[in-house]
């Protein structure tokens, strides 16, 4: 008999390890599998028991609940207030289209056999019969765009690297996932790490690169441990090494750990950090695809971009992926519902669902039960949207048209107690703290921005014009999106929530 207790960082942070230990003691004959997370965060730790009728979930479970659960016959799927039922039938999962997250939460993340039995390696096996241009043709046809934030077509990036002549090329996985409100990369790495490895091996074969790096943020110790173990298993099983699955292709993979700098998520800064330098942004051109890591042609892709690749390359995969989505946003997006939301977690859907459906229908509004007032989409560089914009479909172009961005797909919900002037100030402060220092509009502008917002918060609303000028300077004068996009959260707050930028107290002193 098998009992599943997620080993995912979120589950572990709310007591899953203690639950696993209690179950081990109470059920010595059961096998406790530490699976990834299903992504129903509010139900974590979500424990599942394998019964003849399929898996039955219970959550959220605390270690102290174990005796009561056993008394209620939970090993046979018995009734209990914490019983969720078959997880697949829960509306939060039933309404998803899981492509990238097809296995996450179901399997033992470190079982390569289970991975292969549930569709894993089908893409790679097919790729081994193809040449680089044919692989890239498939990828281009799928319509996949980079999931790290910029939405750049992955096929075009790979083609540039393929066509760049060089003795050494690299595949670099951007696993820096610094955006607040995002955790999909982490869940892939902790819940289905072979998917990422397979995607990177395919990328290597496609462009002719034999070495790969995963640049993984230090804030993710669970993911670091799981990906390292998975890479060791992949090496042992011949998925990595001098002959990938017995073919003529070689691919070596190394995991490198970041050191707490948000800007190192920017691809050129990341490459400098990998090379052992301060993570400062490089001027482009040259593109990393032409002169990247150690000056060699380099594919830099986000975890989710690379994790989408194996499914696209399986037989018929590209057309199936392309058939999902709307407009120029093809396939699925693993949306992350975060912050003050009743049902937070990972929700993978084809592009096109509206922001309002995501926040209200799927997420269930706020966790505090108060009205939703603002939603920040796309991390700390993303705009704040009021409920009036909830008809915006999840689509790159639709968000751009409303001065927002979908970025890495994080949706952070705030209730009506939020003070938007404080959030605008935070955006500037974050930019000042994390600026790499290379250009003045970002470095100095953000520090000035904090000062000006302090004056506005103190009641000097005459400074709003100056704030707007500062934002324009940052927007048009910054080298990268840290300085260039910080104006989005700031100005969206001013535009959509002007009442928070008016004097709060009568200005008696003036």
């Amino acid at each position: 008999m098998r009992i599943f207790v997620p080993g995912d960082a979120l589950a572990a942070s709310v007591g899953a390890d203690e639950v696993a230990a209690a179950l081990r003691l109470a059920c010595p004959d059961a096998t406790i599998v530490r699976n990834g997370s299903r992504g129903l965060a509010w139900l974590e730790p979500l424990v599942e028991v394998e019964t003849p009728e399929g898996r039955i979930g219970y959550g959220p479970v605390a270690a102290g609940d174990v005796p009561g659960l056993l008394a209620a016959g939970f090993l046979e799927g018995g009734a209990h207030p914490r019983r969720v039922g078959p997880p697949e039938e829960h509306p939060f999962l039933a309404r998803q289209t899981r492509v990238t997250f097809a296995r996450c939460g179901i399997t033992d993340p470190l079982s390569l056999a289970e991975y292969a039995s549930l569709g894993g390696l089908a893409g790679l096996r097919r790729v081994l019969t193809m040449d680089g241009p044919a692989i890239i043709q498939d990828l281009a046809e799928s319509g996949l765009r980079g999931r790290g934030g910029a939405g750049f077509p992955t096929g075009i990036k790979w083609r540039t690297v393929l066509q760049a002549p060089a003795h050494q090329k690299y595949i670099v996985c951007n696993a820096d996932e610094g955006d607040s409100g995002t955790f999909a990369d982490r869940m892939v790495m902790e819940g289905d790490p072979f998917l990422l490895i397979e995607g990177m091996v395919i990328a290597g074969i496609a462009v002719g690169a034999t070495r790969g790096y995963v640049y993984l943020r230090s804030e993710y110790p669970h993911a670091i441990a799981v990906v390292n173990q998975a890479a060791a298993i992949a090496r042992r099983e011949g998925l990595l090494g001098s002959s990938v699955l017995g073919s003529a292709h070689a691919f070596e993979l190394e995991i490198r750990v970041g050191a707490g700098a948000y800007v190192c998520g920017e691809e050129t800064s990341l490459l400098d950090s990998l090379e052992g330098k301060r993570g400062q942004v490089r001027a482009k051109p040259p593109l990393p695809a032409v002169a990247g890591l150690f000056g060699c042609p380099t594919v830099v892709n986000n975890v989710l971009s690379l994790a989408a690749v194996p499914d696209i390359l399986r037989p018929g995969g590209a057309a199936a992926y392309q058939a999902l989505g709307i407009g120029r946003s093809r396939g699925t997006m693993p949306v992350q519902l975060a912050g003050n939301v009743a049902r937070g977690g990972l929700f993978e859907v084809p592009f096109g669902m509206t922001l309002g459906e995501l926040v209200m229908d799927i997420g269930g509004g706020t966790a505090t039960g108060r009205p939703v007032r603002a939603v920040q989409v796309g991390g700390p560089l993303g705009a704040y949207f009021p409920p009036a914009l909830f008809d915006t479909p999840f689509d790159y172009e639709a968000f751009t048209a409303r001065d927002g961005l979908i970025g890495h797909g994080g949706v952070t919900v705030f209730d009506d107690t939020v003070d938007m002037a404080r959030m605008a100030r935070f955006a500037m402060e974050f930019c000042a703290t994390e600026s790499c220092g290379k250009c003045t509009p970002c470095r100095i502008g953000s520090t000035r921005g904090v000062e000006v917002l302090d004056q506005i918060i103190a009641g000097d609303t005459g400074r709003l014009g100056l704030l707007e000028e500062l934002c324009d300077t940052m927007k048009f004068g910054s080298l990268c999106a840290l300085g260039g996009f910080t104006p989005y959260p700031v100005m969206s707050a001013v535009r959509h929530f002007p009442e928070d930028f008016r004097p709060r107290l009568p200005m008696a002193a003036e």
Partner: protein, 153 residues
């Protein structure tokens, strides 16, 4: 036989020197061994990596993770990013600061606890959250924090 600190550092960093781009793994190894990057490590690392001392100092100061002085026995990091703010992170942080009598980046006088900010741990659907040394903790509130502080004293 007493070993010099330089000798010990050479031993710690030796496995990393043959890597491509060895600087970050090297500094991580030093910090993992000492809990911080001691001043005495800087010239040793510089020599081994063929960098100037100023360059090594530059790395240590650029990256938030590297510290130049030892921290308290327990490092409590609280997330200050947006999703955690949406669930009361500021309130929980103020409670921690008041209970400990320290501000961000400070250590209690008895050397027990260092309070540090962190910007997102990827636990944003179980906010607010933080870390207690190596352990991640989520769905924090004042009571849970008091229990953590009590255990760390």
């Amino acid at each position: 036989m007493p070993q010099t600190i330089a000798g010990r550092i050479e031993e710690i960093i030796a496995p990393y020197l043959s890597l491509e781009g060895p600087a970050m793994p090297t500094l991580h190894a030093v910090q993992a061994a000492y809990g911080f990057v001691p001043d005495a490590a800087v010239p040793v690392v510089a020599l081994a990596l063929n960098l100037s001392r100023a360059e090594v100092h530059g790395l240590v100061s650029f990256y938030h993770d590297f510290r130049r002085e030892p921290a308290g026995r327990t490092v409590l990091r609280l997330c200050r990013a947006e999703a955690c703010q949406a669930r009361g992170a500021e309130r929980v942080a103020a409670h921690a600061a008041a209970a400990l009598g320290v501000g961000w980046h400070e250590t209690t006088p008895d050397g027990a606890i260092t309070l540090e900010p962190v910007f997102c741990l990827g636990l944003c659907a179980a906010a607010p959250c933080g870390t207690v040394n190596e352990r991640t903790v989520a769905r924090l509130d004042e009571a849970r924090l008091d229990a953590i502080l009590e255990a760390a004293r």
